[in-house]
Symmetry: C2
Subunit: 345 residues, 2 copies
DNA sequence: TAATCAATTGTAATCGATTGCATATTAATC
DNA sequence: GATTAATATGCAATCGATTACAATTGATTA
C-alpha cells in the first residue's frame, strides 16, 4: 500500500521545486520545453495523479454537484438523474445523490449537508411547497455562492433558474384530447396544488374545459396521491357518484393505473365507458397488455441534461449580473388505447 | 456573498489560536470548560461550519463513496442505490453515481475517476466480465486502499467482498415451479454467461431439470439481451421450432415481457399453452392486467443496504487482516398468472 | 523558597497543489 | 564590455483544519 506520489516526489527526484512541477503539469508557458518534458515523463513513470482534494481546498471548487430528489427509484427521477450525470461527467463533475422521501426536514438537512461538503451547485426537485420557510434553503439563497437549479417541482423564486415542462399545456392537451374523443364529463385526479406542477396541470385542465364550453364541476376534481392504491380510492369515489364521469385525467400514471383497475373491476370498459389519461409516461403505461395508457411524456432525460447545462452556464458565468434561466420544455401527449375511442381527425 | 467563517476567524475574535478553537470544537479534554463554551457559542454566532474539504485533505477521508452501475434508470439499480444512500447518509457519507452504459472502457475510466477524487470506497455492479484485464481496476485492487464491494454482478476475486442473491437458487426454483405446473419442455432465455449471475441462473435451471429427470436440451437455451425486443426475437425462435417449448424461464423480466407479447400475438395462451417466468420483479410485472408475470424478487433495497454495511465494516476495520465478506441473499419466487395453471400443492 | 506537576494554550508542521513575487541565468543590444 | 531584456526557476504564502510538541501559568509539595 504505497502512498500516492505528489508533485513534491517528482520535484525531489528531478532536483526541482514543487512549483516548477506544478507549472509544468499545467502547461504554464514559463516552463522550458525540456523541463516540461522531463516532468511529464517522470510523472507518468511515477504514476502521478493530481490530488483533487488538495485542488478543491485551494480552488474552492469541489467539482461535485448535489442532486436532491424525493426518491430515486422512480423512472422519472432516475431518468432525470441519468441525464444530469451524462451531461456533467464529461465536464469533470461528479453527481451526489440525495433523497428526501418527500419529507421537509430531510430536505432541509440534505441541503445543508451538500453546502457543507462544498458542492459547486445543487440541482433539485423540491419536496416542500413552502421551501422559502426553510432555514437551510434560505441560507443557500442569501449567500448565492452555490448555484441552484430547480427541475420539475420548482418554486417560482426570483433569481433561481429552473427547467420544467409546460405542465399547463400538458394538462390542457390531455383534456382537449378527451374532449375530442367526445367525453363531456371529465374528472381530474389532482395532487397537492401547492406544487406548481400539479396546480398547472389542473389549470390546463380547467382551461381546456372552458375553451370548449364545458362547465367546470369542482366535484369532479379529487386530490389523489401518486400511487396505485389512492388512484383506486379516487376512482371509487367517482364511480359512486350519481352521474359518474366519462373520462379521467390523472396527474399521475400510478393513480391512473389504480383508476383503470377499479373501473375494470366494476365491470365498465375502457375506453368505451370511461377514457383514462395519465401523466409521466412511466414504462408500465406502454407495457399494459390490453389497455396501454395514454399519458404525457415529460422527457426526463432531456430535462436532466438541460438542468445540467443551465448549471454549467451559471458556474461559467463570472460576471456580476447573474443570469436566471427558466427553461420550459414542451410535453408530448402520447395517445394509447386507454383513451382512444376512434381515430382523431 | 460573505466568506464562510473559519476557525481562524473565531480564534481572532476570541484572542485565541486556531489550534485551541479546533480542539474546543472537537471536544478535546485538554480545553478548559470556559474556553470550550466560549468557542462553541461564538462558532454558533458566527455561523461556523467545518470545511470538509480541508478536513478531507488532512485526513485523507472524503466521506464520499462511489457507486458504479450499468445504468441508473432501471428499477433494480435505482432501488439498490436507494438502499445504499439510505444506509450511508446517516453515517456521514455521500453517494456519487456513475453509469457505465455497459461499456468496459467507460467503466475503466469511472473507476479511475472515482479513485482520483479520493472516494472512501467503491460499490459496483460490473459491466465487464473480464474486469481483471482492466488496468484501472487492477490498480484499485493492488493498492487496496479503497474498499471495494461488488453487488449483483460480481466477479469472484479473492479479497473482494460482495453482496448478491443466490441466482442458482433463483433459477432452480423458477424452473422447479414450472415443472410443478406440469411443464416438460422448458426453454431458457439466458444472457451473457460470462457474468456469474446469468451463469448461475442457467446452472440452477439445468440442475432443476436434471433433478426432475428431464433431459437438458441445449437448443432450448437462447442467449437474449435484457430488453423487450430481444425477448420477442427469442420467443419467435422458440415458437418456430418443430416442437416448441411449453414454458420459458427468462433471466430478465424485460425479455419475458417480449416473449409474452410474441406468444400472445401468435395466438397461443399464457399460461395454458406456454408458461412464462421472468427475473427481477420489475414493477411492470405486477401491473400487467391480464397476465401478471411470475418472477424472482432480488430484494434490491436490501441488497443496497447490505452492500453499504459491508463497506462500513471494511472501513471501520483497522486491523491488518482484511475481512472479506460474501453475503448471499435469498431470492424469492413470486408466482403470478403467467405461470399458474393451477394451485400448487 | 524552590522544585514538581497538572492544566491549558500556543507554535509550527502537515495534508498537496497553486501562484504572485523574487531571483538567477542567459541572450541580446548598444 | 556593460546594460537590458527575456527566460526559467525558486521562495513562500495560501486554502482550513488537525495535532505532536513546546511553553506558560498557577498550584502543590518538599
Amino acid at each position: 500500500m504505497k502512498k500516492k506520489t505528489t508533485i513534491y516526489d517528482i520535484a525531489a527526484k528531478l532536483g526541482l521545486t514543487a512549483a516548477t512541477v506544478s507549472r509544468a503539469l499545467n502547461n504554464n508557458p514559463k516552463i522550458s520545453i525540456n523541463t516540461r518534458k522531463l516532468v511529464l515523463e517522470t510523472a507518468l513513470e511515477m504514476n502521478y495523479e493530481q490530488n483533487k482534494l488538495a485542488l478543491a481546498l485551494k480552488s474552492g471548487k469541489s467539482y461535485n454537484v448535489g442532486v436532491i430528489v424525493p426518491r430515486i427509484d422512480s423512472n422519472f427521477f432516475s431518468s432525470v438523474i441519468r441525464g444530469i450525470e451524462e451531461e456533467l461527467y464529461p465536464k469533470g463533475y461528479h453527481v451526489i445523490i440525495c433523497q428526501t422521501h418527500n419529507q421537509e426536514n430531510i430536505e432541509n438537512e440534505k441541503i445543508n449537508s451538500l453546502v457543507n461538503v462544498q458542492v459547486d451547485g445543487i440541482l433539485m426537485s423540491i419536496s416542500n411547497a413552502n421551501l422559502e420557510e426553510n432555514k437551510g434553503f434560505n441560507k443557500l439563497l442569501k449567500n448565492k455562492k452555490t448555484p441552484l437549479v430547480f427541475f420539475d417541482r420548482k418554486k417560482d423564486i426570483k433569481g433561481i433558474s429552473s427547467v420544467t415542462i409546460n405542465d399547463f399545456k400538458g394538462g390542457y392537451e390531455a383534456t382537449k384530447h378527451l374532449l375530442d374523443q367526445g367525453c363531456k364529463r371529465i374528472a381530474h385526479l389532482s395532487n397537492d396544488r401547492n406544487f406548481e406542477i400539479f396546480r398547472n396541470r389542473y389549470l390546463g385542465y380547467k382551461q381546456a374545459l372552458s375553451d370548449n364550453g364545458i362547465d367546470f364541476d369542482e366535484s369532479l376534481v379529487i386530490e389523489t396521491q401518486s400511487n396505485v392504491l389512492d388512484g383506486r380510492r379516487a376512482a371509487r369515489l367517482l364511480l359512486d357518484m350519481e352521474t359518474p364521469p366519462d373520462a379521467i385525467f390523472s396527474s399521475s400514471d400510478f393513480a391512473a393505473l389504480g383508476a383503470i383497475q377499479e373501473i375494470k373491476e366494476s365491470g365498465l370498459n375502457i375506453p368505451e365507458d370511461i377514457c383514462v389519461v395519465g401523466f409521466s409516461n412511466e414504462p408500465f403505461t406502454r407495457f399494459m397488455e390490453l389497455t396501454t395508457i395514454t399519458t404525457v411524456d415529460q422527457f426526463p432525460l432531456e430535462m436532466g441534461r438541460t438542468a445540467a447545462q443551465v448549471f454549467l452556464e451559471e458556474v461559467s458565468n463570472t460576471g456580476d449580473i447573474k443570469i436566471t434561466k427558466n427553461v420550459v420544455l414542451t410535453p408530448q401527449l402520447i395517445i394509447r388505447k386507454s383513451s382512444l375511442k376512434h381515430k382523431e381527425g
